[in-house]
Amino acid sequence: MDVLKTLEGLWQDSGFGLFFAEGGWKFIVMILVACVLLYLGIKKKFEPLLLVGIAFGCLLANLPGAGLYHPDLWDDFLNQGSEFYHSYGRILTEGGLLDILYIGVKAGVYPCLIFIGVGAMTDFGPLIANPKTFFLGAAAQFGVFFAFMGAILLGFTGNQAASIGIIGGADGPTAILTATTLAPELLGAIAIAAYSYMALIPMIQPPIMKLLTTEKERSVKMEQLREVSKTEKIVFPIVVAGFVILLLPSTAPLIGSLMFGNLLKETGVTERLSDTAQNALMNIVTLFLGISVGATTVASRFLNPQTLYIILLGLIAFCFSTVGGLLVGKLMYKLSGGKINPLIGSAGVSAVPMAARVSQMVGQKANPSNFLLMHAMGPNVAGVIGSAIAAGFMLKVFG
């Protein structure tokens, strides 16, 4: 037995050895990226529930030799010319742990399960009490289409641009579902951009809000919302699911899941299911979603100029979604004779409830006796529906 050759073989097969192989430096860069993301999630508390999982998935996928995630298997899975096109069997037999967990993302299961939990946690009462605020949720999708145009200008394909634009909907599961369906090669970068910017909303939105509104507009105190009956709250998810899905069938997975979760909450007879959807289910799916989305950030696919463009376009999408919501908020302020505070428009970007809290915070700075939170929750939850419709449109056009 040649001891030296054995040791050399062991070294070359080890992950440490692979760092020194051709292109090994990329793994080191990605491990550093994972560490930065872990720092942001743990220390800075940027959407930690998902970002910590994404960062750890990124770390695991970029440890050379670990073999937990194989992008080549997924390339064959998506290649219509391959004998393994849409072959989950091959993924299950030849894939690693993260490949198997990623099936839930690829099949669009995790985002929809998360939407059931989101629905179970959402109170649509403020929106039912003041349906006009629905329009703010629509207006705040401006960034989606603005970033879509920007992405086309930067040379992305239609599918990729649509997936990047959806970052502006500020809705993680929607962005993940759209990217998985339309441009899976960009999923990692899109998910990281979406969740990072959602965490940065308290820093991104206030300067834009102050720039586009006057002190007088920000000081507007809104009238108390009417009380919404329990029956109205029960009927709402049934009507919305039926109507929106009939109008745009491609929204069915997202809207159906969201409204199902909400119905569980509102019926009052499915408390155990509602509780499970809000807590246990949501936590389990978040675990799988985070780590498997993080795994898609393999060095060979992530380290390219496209990733930087996506990060930039994501920020543009968030900013312009805020602008869209605020401008329609200002229009409603004028039309209502100064009864609607335009600040609630920025909450239309979804990101529940962070964006509504930002409206409340900025409004209270202008007028300490101003309580906009409940008013902002209307456009905030309307934004979830608006971004699902925008995603449904993109899926219909490019899917």
Binding site: P71, D75, L78, N79, Q80, I128, P131, K132, F134, F135, G137, A138, A139, Q141, F142, V144, F145, F146, F148, M149, I152, L153, G155, T157, G158, N159, Q160, A161, L182, A183, P184, E185, E227, S229, T231, E232, V235, F236, V239, V240, F243, V244, L247, L248, S300, R301, N304, Q364, P368, S369, A382, I385, G386, I389, A390, F393, M394, V397, F398
Partner: protein
């Protein structure tokens, strides 16, 4: 879908004019969908509110909307130490004190400069 050295790229390049048209149409579709949804929600709300009013008519002959509230006010317990002004509905004095302290803190004003009329749990 076609392949490049960096892996697969989904979709095909798009003309700027087509992209602009898609963006405009997409934004319009979102607004249209929401507009129709608003109409449906308003109609459903009106129907339900009308049904509720009809059901309430035999028991409340007076059309005055404030009537049930006045009735509540007369039976609601007064908060201790409030000089008989603050009415509490389904709220215990401890919670009421906490809420008043939070409101005063958020407004940045001393609590004795504020006047609370009633505290009601929204169900």
């Amino acid at each position: 879908m076609y392949n490049t050295l960096a892996g697969q790229v989904s979709g095909t390049p798009m003309q700027l004019g087509d992209a602009a048209l898609t963006a405009l149409m997409g934004y319009a579709i979102v607004f249209l969908g929401i507009l129709l949804l608003v109409i449906v929600v308003v109609i459903v709300s009106r129907i339900m509110t009308a049904g509720k009013k009809k059901a309430a008519e035999p028991t409340t002959p007076a059309p005055n909307r404030d009537a049930p509230i006045q009735k509540l006010e007369s039976t609601a317990p007064k908060a201790p130490g409030s000089a008989g002004e603050l009415k509490l509905y389904d709220t215990d004095p401890k919670t009421a004190a906490m809420l008043m302290a939070i409101v005063a803190d958020k407004m940045g004003k001393p609590i004795n400069e504020l006047r609370f009329k009633s505290i009601r749990e929204v169900k």
